[in-house]
């Protein structure tokens, strides 16, 4: 296996840490809401959902801490990969069941995101990032010039993930808007006839 440059692996780790920090922040702010989202996935008895929700949020927090800790970094990246795999599997199972209307639970109560194929694409991209972070690296000393790709790569990747989430959350409203116009006119006309 070709060894990855250390700066690239660090950039990937930092990006993942940012993504998980934001995800954990949303989950902890509304743990009850996240628990009902977990329950809605119908993958475990409802009584276990609150416990699972707490543990998922805690796991994400631990990942944030360990992903930026040099000795634990590679291991944490593998754990992140596994967690993303679990999320993807849960989404895929419910997509296969045709349950597209449940909330993903990814982005908190403010930004409801129904299940869609896009979430699998997003997770696949994050899994690729996690794989890069976990890849074996050639040992070398990091210099000041490495700060640029690490900080820049992590920030840009994080901002793009957020933008993608926002666009996915917009998608249902956007579809509804396109679908609504004719029916909306028809309703208005029928109201006029009755008046």
């Amino acid at each position: 296996m070709i060894a990855l440059d250390l700066a690239l692996a660090w950039a990937a780790s930092a990006a993942l840490a940012l993504v998980f920090a934001q995800a954990a922040w949303h989950k902890l702010r509304d743990l009850e809401g996240f628990a009902s989202a977990v329950e809605a996935y119908h993958l475990m008895p409802a009584s276990l959902a609150p416990l699972a929700a707490t543990q998922l949020a805690a796991a994400e927090l631990v990942l944030v801490g360990t992903l930026v800790l040099p000795p634990a970094r590679a291991g944490a990246a593998l754990a992140a990969l596994a967690l993303l795999g679990v999320y993807s599997a849960a989404i895929a199972v419910n997509l296969a069941r045709g349950r597209r209307d449940i909330d993903c639970g990814c982005t908190g109560p403010a930004l409801r995101q129904p299940l869609s194929g896009w979430l699998l694409v997003r997770n696949a991209a994050l899994i690729a990032v996690a794989a890069a972070a976990a890849a074996p690296t050639a040992p070398r000393a990091l210099g000041p010039a490495d700060a640029l790709p690490i900080a820049g790569g992590a920030l840009a990747a994080f901002a793009l993930t957020l933008a993608g989430n926002q666009l996915a959350a917009n998608a249902p409203a956007s579809r509804a808007l396109r679908a609504r116009s004719p029916a909306f006119g028809a309703r208005a006309r029928s109201a006029e006839v009755r008046a």
Partner: protein, 206 residues
Amino acid sequence: MTDALLVSNALLWVLVIALALLVLALARQVGVLHERVTPVGALALGRGPRVGEAAPGIEAPTLAGTRIALGGVSAQARSTLLFFLSPSCPVCKALLPALHSVIAREDPSLRLVYASDGPEPEHQTFAKAHGLELAAYALSTELGLSHHVGKLPYAVLIDAAGVIRAQGLVNTREHLESLFEARERGVGSLQELIARERGGSDTLTH
């Protein structure tokens, strides 16, 4: 040469981050615009008994083992809010606190009736877990069919005379409030209100 590359690289990173943030800001703005253009009112689906018509008179069994009369003139001169829900609907669950607080604010004398259908044990557990009054929890397939309820959570506001005053699919607190707003203004749904204020269909079919 190395210096030049370093400077060029730094500049590129700055630009890449700026662009990513710009994309994020644009996506957020689209989200805000969607919120603004979507009508806040409960969405009336346009089938079943209409606003202004009498609500179907039905006597439905409740979880408490009693029967509850719906439709017709109320002896206590109270309005009724029929809230169609299901234990397997997360939005219904999430909406319950908002439902109770909206009623407490808009019309405390209102009679709130939960309506659903399906196997009873599931509903018993659900009602107990959420502290819902068992005698106000109607379990009747006929009730849902008579109101043509397709999607949940669905709410129907019936006045003391047994006439439907407002109804629609409710997903948020704003949708619930819009039912009361629609009743006060004497229009069936907020879409209808918007249509009236804009003066007919011409401006809407674009």
